[in-house]
């Protein structure tokens, strides 16, 4: 997948080709073709109506795909904008996760879908176009070519109407296949010339200049006189026509910022601007912009909006703004929302233009440039290195990149200029604004940039050789007895199943929310039962017996930190990534906002006790969301301890959890037996007595079904071993099971002591002798050593040296037969037995 690094900010400029065809709408001028020029690679790309284009999206690796329907200049507002009407295509990754299974097959890597949905906004700004792309429409019976070379080409085979996939209609297919000629790339021009001689550039410059101008007097009055101001004056003297418009404030803002930057970085440049002190430039400037605006008395609402956008850091705030407007009037919306990207865009552009001008006018710049070039060279090299890492880049982009070295330095400055108040760590932020509106209504309101692509599907590689299928009865039994084998039904949990099922079902039918707390010791089938309930409900949802719902599962143990639960839930619900705090906000909005037409969400929180935090805010939120009016969230919380709500939860949390509780009792021996029998089902591998024995043993120990299954599995192995010499494989007998149980549960201390060396055994004896002498359960090494020496003398053993005895002591300590202090205490280290004295004596007596 080629990734389209919009972050690189290779600046593109657009100009119309051909004459405008006036439209019946007064302000619209319709064009047939547009010329896209990437400023630094000096290639021109002509894009005609009817071609397919890539459009900037949230994810650089996967830009949006669309077909151009119409190109027009929207003159209804000032300055007029180049716009385009498009027909969207969706990638598979843009389809909501819950609907992806509808495709019924794995999507091809380059497959896209015709987006058949009338409600989405299909007007975009031309600036958001990245470039043309090849799209091939395929008839339903055609196969998508899989060769690697055609990575640039996308294929469309089906259409997606937010509900189901359908094959393309023949007419559509024909229309799509009537391919427009591919984009013409002109020869790269001399990079130097473009600054002055490129006709487009000058016109563009003029256009911008004419559009952004203001009264100089206003400026000076608005700002205290400072080196900045002086600089600004100079700039505005550069021949900008003075039309009263508040725009200039922004323009000059970017200029002055620009120059500040430069002066900071390059001392050679400081002739014109002495290093000014800068404190929150973005904040100050924008507010001054507002000020000047007020002074002028031009209170265009959209201007105010623009400066607002500059200042706000919170994208959600912005989206709410837009939402409000959208509610106001649909026509107005286009007007308004179009301003948003504009405001952010223009300062950047002007910043650059102005700088270019400076570059010509000021002789000092030459030295500055030389300096810069050398630094650029290294920068370039570094970037190139980085580039190499990404193996699949298109050639075109590489070319683009190399020639972009000239600007790449300045882009970083520009980033600062255009989003002064935004935190630097996400320069992609503005790309959210590039799009006029979120495309499908199903898509979430705002997205944040992600570091790791969530589309990457990691997978352990497949095995080359097929798995050997079980051949004997015992092997078959072992497969069935493995804990991972999912049984068709869950025996002995019918009542619990019924309770949980009816709880969730009633919530689904009512369209309300609720919590349920499920407790039980490990291995009693809590998670399995809930999974079974969900499976049944999903089946019921398919037959429309219950309303459809979304199911999300999180596990406290699979999180690194309690707050990560938000991230996980959000990612599983919507597929987007966010920080924990942001995810919490989004989820709260999602679950708490009233009347959201979403499906009910069923949330399973496994290992709830791991979500404990000091403030218990995670638990609080999880149980608080369902209590909101209109929240359609069912929370099923699972933990081990029955009294968890009383023990560790604050009152306000346990109160929200409510009283719907269920506890899973440990399995009784009858139930365990039933489980085993149902798993083995007609498979005669065990003696009846053997099953009875294991069921009773485990029930007496813990009632953990996992243990039961593991013991049986081990017993089949033992049975297999013992029969290798014999004739045929027999049944698993009681003896085999006893052996397995012994192996798993018998304490190994006694065997360990029996297998100790003589000196180690002598040391253990000495410990017991010392304990008896002192009557305490603890002794220092020195005391034991003297006992040990005495014992050795009595038994006629060689005298053990201190070092040897010390080694013996630490050996026993590392096995945890003894509990010893760290060895730096030497003679004074205290020693305790980790086994009972009787065990030690028993083990030593045997010989």
């Amino acid at each position: 997948m080629p990734s389209y690094l919009t972050r690189q900010k290779t600046r593109k400029t657009f100009s119309w080709i051909g004459r405008p065809l006036p439209d019946r709408k007064q302000y619209y001028q319709i064009y047939k073709e547009i010329c896209m020029k990437v400023s630094d690679c000096s290639t021109e790309i002509h894009i005609k109506v009817g071609q397919f284009v890539l459009i900037k999206g949230d994810d650089n690796a996967k830009p949006y795909v669309a077909k151009l329907i119409e190109l027009f200049e929207d003159g209804s507002k000032f300055p007029s904008m180049k716009c385009a009407r498009v027909q969207w295509f969706v990638r598979f990754s843009e389809i909501p996760i819950s609907k992806r299974h509808l495709l019924g097959r794995k999507p091809a890597a380059q497959e896209i879908f015709w987006y058949d949905y009338s409600d989405c906004d299909n007007n975009i700004y031309v600036e958001t176009i990245i470039g043309p792309v090849q799209v091939v429409a395929l008839a339903p019976d055609e196969v998508i070519p899989m060769d690697q070379k055609s990575e640039e080409t996308l294929f469309v085979k089906l259409s997606w109407n937010t509900k189901k996939f359908e094959p393309l209609s023949p007419e559509l297919l024909a229309a799509l296949n009537k391919l427009e000629d591919s984009p013409k790339c002109q020869k790269p021009l001399e990079a130097k010339i473009k600054n002055v001689k490129n006709p487009w550039n000058t016109t563009e410059l003029k256009r911008i200049e004419s559009s952004h101008s203001t009264s100089k007097t206003c400026q000076t009055s608005a700002h205290p006189v400072s080196p900045n101001a002086r600089k600004r004056l100079e700039l505005s003297d550069l021949g900008i026509p003075r039309k009263p418009n508040m725009r200039l404030s922004k323009k000059t803002l970017s200029d002055s910022l620009d120059s500040q930057k430069k002066s900071k970085r390059k001392t050679a440049f400081s002739e014109t601007a002495s290093p000014p002190k800068r404190s929150q430039p973005g904040e100050i400037k924008t507010s001054s912009a507002l000020k000047s605006l007020e002074k002028n008395g031009q209170t265009h609402s959209f201007c105010a909006k623009g400066s607002m956008t500059l200042r706000t850091q919170d994208p959600s705030f912005m989206t709410t703004k837009i939402n409000v407007e959208r509610a106001l009037s649909p026509i107005k919306r286009r007007l308004r929302s179009s301003v948003v990207p504009n405001v952010i865009l223009t300062p950047k552009r002007i910043g650059r233009e102005a700088r270019k001008q400076e570059a010509h006018k000021e002789p000092t710049n030459s030295s500055h440039r030389v300096h810069r070039r050398s630094s650029l060279l290294t920068l370039n090299r570094i970037r190139q290195q980085l580039w190499l890492l990404d193996d699949d880049k298109s050639d075109e982009e590489e070319e683009e990149f190399i020639s972009s070295a000239e600007v790449s330095d300045s882009t970083s400055e520009e980033e600062d200029d255009c989003i002064p108040s935004l935190p630097k760590r996400n320069p992609q932020r503005q790309s959210t604004n590039w799009r006029m509106a979120s495309k499908p209504s199903l898509q979430t309101p705002s997205k944040t940039p992600k570091k790791t692509p969530h589309h990457a599907t990691p997978q352990i590689r497949d095995r080359n050789l097929a798995v050997q299928e079980p051949t004997s009865v015992l092997e078959e039994a072992r497969v069935r007895l493995h804990v991972s084998a999912v049984p068709d039904s869950l025996p002995c949990r019918e009542q619990e199943f019924q309770d949980i099922y009816s709880f969730v079902e009633s919530k689904l039918l009512d369209g309300t929310g609720g919590c349920m707390y499920i407790s039980g010791v490990p291995g009693t089938g809590k998670t399995a039962t809930v999974n079974e309930v969900i499976r049944c409900l999903q089946q019921a949802a398919q037959t429309n017996d219950v309303p459809p719902f979304e199911y999300v599962e999180v596990n406290g143990m699979k999180l690194t930190e309690p707050h990560q639960v938000y991230v996980q839930i959000l990612q599983k619900l919507t597929g987007q990534k966010a920080t924990a705090n942001h995810a919490a906000e989004l989820l709260a909005k999602r679950f708490c906002s009233r009347g959201s037409p979403q499906e009910t969400t069923v949330l399973l929180v496994d290992e709830l006790d791991l979500l404990w935090t000091h403030k218990q805010d995670v638990m609080y939120n999880l149980f608080d969301w369902p209590t909101h009016k209109g929240a359609r969230l069912v929370v099923l919380a699972i933990a081990n301890t029955m009294d968890l709500p009383e023990r560790i939860m604050m009152n306000r949390v346990s109160s929200r959890l409510g009283l719907t509780r269920m506890s899973f009792q440990p399995y009784s021996h009858n139930q365990l037996k039933e489980i085993l029998v149902s798993r083995l089902k007609h498979l005669r591998a065990f003696e009846d007595d053997a099953i009875q024995l294991v069921a009773r043993k485990v029930a007496a120990l813990s009632g953990d079904a996992r243990r039961c299954l593991d013991i049986c599995r081990r017993a089949t192995e033992i049975c297999e071993f013992s029969h290798t010499q014999g004739d045929s494989l027999g049944l698993v007998t009681v003896a085999h099971l006893m052996e397995a149980i012994d192996e798993m549960f018998s304490s190994s201390y006694i065997t360990a002591i029996k297998n100790c060396s003589l000196l180690e055994q002598g040391f253990l004896r000495a410990i017991i002798a010392e304990f008896r002498r002192s009557g305490l359960e603890e002794a220092t090494f020195q005391q034991i050593y003297s006992q040990h020496v005495a014992l050795c003398r009595m038994e006629g053993l060689p005298y053990p040296t201190m070092s040897e005895t010390m080694a013996v002591c630490s050996n026993l300590g590392s096995c945890r037969l003894l509990l010893v202090e760290p060895s730096r205490n030497d003679l004074l280290l205290r020693v305790r037995l980790n086994v009972s004295q009787d065990d030690v004596l028993y083990a030593l007596k045997e010989e």
Binding site: L389, T457, S484, L759, C815
Partner: protein, 436 residues
Amino acid sequence: MNSRKTKGNSAIHAECLPQVQRILRERFCHQSPHSNLFGVEVQYKHLIELLKRTAINGESNSVLIVGPRGSGKTMLINRALKELMEIREVSENVLQVHLNGLMQINDKIALKEITRQLNLENVVGDKVFGSFAENLSFLLEALKKGDRASSCPVIFILDEFDLFAHQKNQTLLYNLFDISQSAQTPVAVIGLTCRLDILELLEKRVKSRFSHRQIHLMNSFDFPQYMKIFKEQLSLPEEFPNKVFAERWNENAQSLSEDSTVREVLQKLFNVNKSLRSLHTLLMLALTRVTVSHPFMTSADLMEAQHLCSLDSKASIIHGLSVLEICLIIAMKHLNDIYEEEPFNFQMVYNEFQKFIQRKAHSVYNFEKPVVMKAFEHLQQLELIKPMERTSVNSQREYQLVKLLLDNTQIMNALQKYSNCPTDVRQWATSSLSWL
């Protein structure tokens, strides 16, 4: 004639001995999976069957190999893996992940290491890994994707397993065991530990997910077997280039194993420590004494090596002390006798020492107090005495309470071997209270 023959012999020896030493050193120092198994055949069979089932049948398993240090846990698993990888169908089908609790000290590092060893990092390309949480979900997702039939089995080997159990929440263990108990990518989780109480360390949920299979390695061989191991470890392999020399060397090994002094030496060692690692240390020391002029190991070499092995380190430190320091140690020994192991300070030791000096009017050991103090501090640096509290700057060092880290028998034994110890000092040492 005779001299020429010896010359020829020594040429051969000069040629062969470096090879011999290389082969044997490798055998003693590395836990090479080539060596034969001693007394662990049953355990080995259990392990190899389990691994085969994971590799061939795609069955998930978890097992712990428990045994004291030097009992051959790593050797066992290495050998099993080697055998497993020799099966052709298996070798390209199995992924291995080796982790060590001493190196992957927390889950974050462990996750990175797992990702690296599974070669999953190239999935995300040059995008560097983000947070710990992202890593975890990434890895879990990767493992979840697979299923029993189609995915490549992964064998996780966790060395120093008990240290993983000490990590926060035991997240890593929970997840590994959870995978081994669910229908995901088949895994075999093999833990190696020397702690017998390992199951008590596991959290109840983790414990429930662990299959409770344990393989115990206990050094459960007796002395005749030990002798056999000794002989086998010392013998040269058949593929040794110089057959004549190898034969002579092996004959020598055979005769050594029948020698009574050697048996005595080995019996001593066996009584102290049964692990093969201590045997290797002994043989290594003996091997260093083999030279061209002394081409075959003798019982004397082994005796000497055994002596080195069982040396009391503190006694040998005492041998290097000055007479004044010996005097101080004797004074402390007396204090211990009088005050029954109560801690004492420098002033008390000095007083005790002064008493001895005064008794001997002609004494040449009449040192200034600061000199004695210096000697006392030197003993403290050697850690023959240990301060009871932490040394603070403003406390007076003369009055700081200390304890002697030497046993009476140790002191007496050391004194006997201490050359040119004045007679009166020796007498003073033996007459604990009688001189009063």
